[in-house]
């Protein structure tokens, strides 16, 4: 019971902190002091207090978009184990639901963006959907490796004990390939550099930020929070794969897990500081390489 309370509170409260860490890292590497670590929380609170400005072109879809997006992402997170702590819900085939809840979130973000009739948002949506067609099968390939490795179809079992029971030098290489693939998917799904740059000054070059240009106030807050949670979920997936053996002791395993995801957001901050955003046509190639890495991992894998 206590474990579940910790699980839920870490899950609900922690996500914005990762963005704070990422921004702080970027600021330090750029030679600035940067915003406080807790700035994402302040932003969220302020956004929820604000009044909204709604485009006159929009319909109810504009409201429904952020709401469904956030709920879908949060439910997807309930399926994901955090370190050695079991997922809140877990059943056979839950990783399929996990991937499809992301698709649901994407569907509603995009139609809410298209509801405004803006050309910028149209561009963002077209890019997002094009890239998702490569990311989703890539994610499935990655999950297939875990299914093969663990012999289970539920995320909790797949990513915890069983995953490393059967590791040996024959299947180590595919696992490394999957980790590289998953890292690219992490960057792409969360619209980070080199796939997308949330901080450019031009709407023309963005993906995710271009889609939410017209949202304001609490709706924007929902979107931001959903983005935070999504980053948290995917980095905890990556963390569980990279750092397999957490202590069987509850507190130590939590400590290990938290250190792991903080390190991942730190690394993403470094990647963002030392790289530039790729040209849109190059992004496809990067994503295809993730897809192929995960796909080849499935093929060359031996139990």
């Amino acid at each position: 019971m206590i474990d579940q309370i910790i699980h839920m509170s870490v899950y609900i409260l922690m996500p914005p902190l990762l963005f704070g860490i990422m921004n702080k890292t970027k600021a330090y590497l750029a030679g600035r002091r940067g915003a406080p670590l807790l700035q994402p929380y302040y932003d969220l609170i302020r956004l929820f207090k604000k009044k909204m400005v709604i485009s006159s072109t929009t319909t109810w879809v504009f409201y429904a978009g952020p709401i469904v997006t956030m709920l879908a992402v949060i439910v997807a997170g309930l399926l994901m184990p955090l370190g050695q702590s079991h997922a809140i819900i877990s059943f056979t085939g839950d990783f399929i639901l996990f991937a499809y809840l992301f698709a649901l979130a994407r569907f509603f973000t995009t139609i809410a963006a298209m509801d405004t009739g803006s050309a910028f948002e149209g561009m963002g949506v077209a890019r997002e959907m094009t890239f998702s067609a490569i990311i989703e099968p890539g994610l499935f390939f990655a999950f297939l490796v875990f299914v093969k490795l663990s012999g289970s179809m539920s995320l909790t079992v797949m990513l915890q004990r069983n995953l490393y029971g059967s590791i040996n030098q024959n299947n180590f290489a595919p696992l490394v390939m999957v980790i590289i693939g998953l890292s690219i998917i992490l960057l792409a799904e969360n619209s980070r550099i080199p796939v997308d740059d949330p901080n450019t000054h031009l709407e023309l070059t963005m993906i995710h930020e271009a889609m939410v240009l017209d949202h304001s106030g609490p709706l924007l807050g929902l979107i931001e929070y959903a983005a935070n949670v999504k980053f948290f979920i995917l980095s905890s997936l990556l963390c569980t794969v990279i750092v397999p053996i957490f202590s069987s002791d509850g507190w130590l395993s939590w400590l290990g897990f938290l250190t792991g995801i903080i390190l991942i957001s730190f690394m993403v901050g470094i990647v963002e500081s030392i790289m530039a955003r790729l040209r849109m046509s190059r992004v496809t190639i990067l994503l295809f390489s993730a897809f192929l890495l995960c796909g080849s991992a499935v093929i060359i894998f031996e139990r």
């Binding site: 056979t92 085939g93 399929i96 639901l97 698709a103 009739g117 949506v125 989703e136 390939f141 299914v147």
Partner: protein
């Protein structure tokens, strides 16, 4: 009992259109009368089919025809399962037709349409209960021919005539192949009755011949790649409720045929399952890729039918492989996915075609690039279309996801259990994921191009919401999509009664899923109400366009620009043709841009092939000119030739050879 009900329903639906004709010109309410007859019969049929789902298989002789041995009909769970969409869409489509194709607006074609609508539904009903080649093919041809006449409803348009003709040719190739199949069946088994062939009775060669004839014959009807070439044109040209029943139900008759043949034949070799799986993956992927490239809303939906048939075939392939490797679990999961997707597709595809029909009815346009902003003027249609769009993209919590979940688990579970044959199945799962992602992209494109943003063209200004006769069928279909999506465990009972295994709920705990999707839907509604009715009222403003003060609707992203990224990614198969004016002046005048994608099989292979054949054999034309004196000459030559046979060559030549 159930079979009698279904026979009454079939006869009632078949005769419904005749009533309208007998009543004569002066009676105003005959369209309503016909619809009511169709409705009553469909309800009877649905009741019969639901009873049939849970009762023992029955069959009896319908009537006796000495030459081929009588028409046997019967009902089992599989037939009953397929009969449900037939009667459901048959009934709902008739209601929809009352608003969409009004008698007062289409005096000539409306009655014809209703008459053949009845024949189409009756034909499908008959072929589903047929247990003998004769009754089966009678239903099959009734269905095929009435579908042709329905497609040709608007035969004053050249494009409609053209695609109708392609359909007619295709459907007869299919029938011809089936003739071949049944002739071979009779040769192999000695009877025209559908009775399972025992193990080891027939040679593998004969079994392969039977299977491939069935695959081509039924596959053509189902619209699997590369035999789908007739489908997009025919389904786009027909009136929308006809497209709905053609796409949603008639294609499934091909799937029914494949399942039936699979049940009749003994344990299949692994080749069959692999081929079905491969063809399914190709149909799924290319179907959706070609759908994204379309500008015509109905053609786009038609290509999505190819995609969904692909998904259904993937499920069927798993079941075939399960039989080969003696794995009842694979059969259960594959068949459950295949069958449930048959139902789901008939629900959401009909819903989408009805929605597209509503748009067409009120705007008169099918081109996606000039629509927009209809969501404000047709809010109810927009909501239903959105439900259909989410469902067809296979996104939870609607019904499309449930059937895809079965198929996914069927594909991946062998890997989890460490089966040596699992790798081929496992590699299909990412293909399915890609199909899902592309379908979602396509429906974001359609939904936003039609219903969101603002009007892109002045032509579509006078827009009205559809009449209730069109909205009610859509409401029923949308409600069913949500119901199956949120409470899948109740449908599972029906599926388990067909596959005769009670393992689905043990493998996939759908109750947990159902609980969470219900909670999910409720929390969406709660949060929506909270956001919408906050005390701080929102301020209205223009859409942000970098501070540009007077945005016009022409600045919006169009469906074509949306699909451009995909068009580049799949250029290797799409080969899209772009026609644009070159800009060579500092101050260019008016420029135009047009792009289109040719049909993969029809425009790129079949048409050039037949054109070349025609040129190559043009010399033969001079023998066949219709001049009767020539024909008399040919007869004379033939007679002379025959007479020459009478000459005793042996006696003349043999002595020379001997010497």
């Amino acid at each position: 009992m159930s079979l009698q009900l279904i026979i009454v329903a079939i006869v009632g639906i078949a005769l419904s259109g005749v009533v309208g004709i007998l009543l004569g010109k002066s009676v105003k309410c005959k369209q309503a009368l016909t619809t009511i007859i169709v409705l009553i019969s469909s309800v009877l049929g649905l009741v019969g089919a639901f009873i049939g789902l849970f009762s023992e298989a029955t069959s009896f002789k319908f009537f006796y025809w000495p030459t081929i041995g009588g028409a046997l009909i019967g009902l089992d769970e599989l037939s009953a399962f397929f009969l449900i969409p037939v009667f459901l869409i048959g009934g709902l489509g008739a209601i929809y037709g009352m608003g969409y194709w009004k008698l007062s607006e289409h005096i000539y074609s409306s009655q014809k349409l209703q008459l053949f609508w009845g024949f189409l539904v009756a034909g499908m009903g008959l072929l589903l209960i047929g247990r003998h080649v004769f009754s089966f093919l009678m239903g099959w041809e009734l269905m095929a021919i009435s579908a042709f006449i329905l497609v040709m409803t608007e035969d004053e348009e050249a494009e409609c005539r053209k695609s109708g003709l392609v359909y007619l040719i295709a459907t007869h190739i299919s029938t011809l192949t089936l003739f071949g199949f049944f002739a071979l069946w009779h040769y192999a088994t000695g009877s025209f009755v559908f009775q399972p062939i025992g193990e080891g009775i027939l040679q593998p060669g004969m079994l392969n011949a039977l299977f491939f004839l069935a695959l081509i014959g039924f596959g053509l009807k189902a619209g699997m790649m590369p035999l789908h070439f007739w489908l997009p044109g025919a389904h786009a040209s027909a009136p929308s409720h006809v497209s709905a029943i053609l796409s949603g139900v008639m294609l499934k008759m091909g799937i029914y045929g494949l399942i039936r043949v699979g049940l009749l034949l003994p344990t299949p070799p692994s080749l069959w399952g692999t081929i079905i799986l491969t063809v399914g993956s190709i149909s799924g992927l290319l179907g959706v890729v070609f759908a994204i490239a379309q500008h015509d809303i109905k053609k786009l939906l038609a290509y999505h039918s190819v995609e969904n048939i692909g998904i259904i075939l993937i499920g069927l392939g798993i079941a075939f492989l399960g039989r080969t490797y003696n794995q009842p679990e694979w059969v259960a999961l594959g068949m459950a996915g295949c069958l449930l997707h048959v139902w789901n597709h008939s629900l959401f595809k009909s819903l989408l075609f009805f929605g597209a029909g509503s748009v067409l009815h009120s705007t008169g346009k099918r081109n996606l690039d000039i629509m927009g902003g209809l969501g404000k003027k047709m809010p109810v249609t927009a909501l239903f279309f959105l439900i259909g769009a989410i469902a067809i993209s296979g996104i939870p919590p609607l019904n499309g996801f449930v059937s895809e979940l079965f198929i996914y688990i069927g594909l991946i579970r062998p890997t989890a259990l460490g089966d040596p044959h699992a790798i081929g199945l496992a590699m299909t799962a990412p293909v399915l994921a890609m199909i899902g992602a592309l379908a979602a992209a396509c429906f974001v494109k359609v939904y936003s191009a039609v219903f969101l943003g603002s009007e892109r063209s002045e032509d579509i200004k006078p827009v009205h919401e559809s009449p209730k006769t069109m909205l009610i069928p859509m409401a029923i279909l949308a409600a069913l999509c949500v119901a199956i999506g949120v409470f899948p465990q109740y449908v599972t009972f029906i599926l388990e009664s067909i596959i005769h295994q009670k393992i689905l709920l043990n493998i996939i705990p759908l109750k947990i899923y159902s609980f969470f999707s219900l909670g999910f839907v409720i929390s969406i509604v709660v949060l929506y109400i909270w956001m919408k009715f906050r005390p701080k009222k929102p301020k209205e403003a223009l859409t942000w366009d970098c501070g540009y003060a007077k945005p016009t609707s022409r600045m919006q992203y169009t469906a074509t620009s949306f699909g451009n990224g995909f068009a580049i990614m799949f250029e290797w198969i799409l080969h899209s043709k772009v026609h644009k004016t070159k800009l060579n002046d500092v101050m260019p005048g008016q420029v135009t841009f047009e792009s289109h994608v040719n049909e993969l099989v029809l425009d790129r292979f079949l048409k050039p092939f037949f054109r070349k054949t025609q040129t190559a054999f043009s010399w033969f034309g001079r023998f066949q000119q219709g001049a009767s004196q020539n024909y008399i000459l040919y007869i004379l030559i033939a007679v002379l030739f025959l007479m020459a046979m009478l000459v005793p060559y042996n006696e003349w030549f043999l002595p020379f050879i001997k010497n």
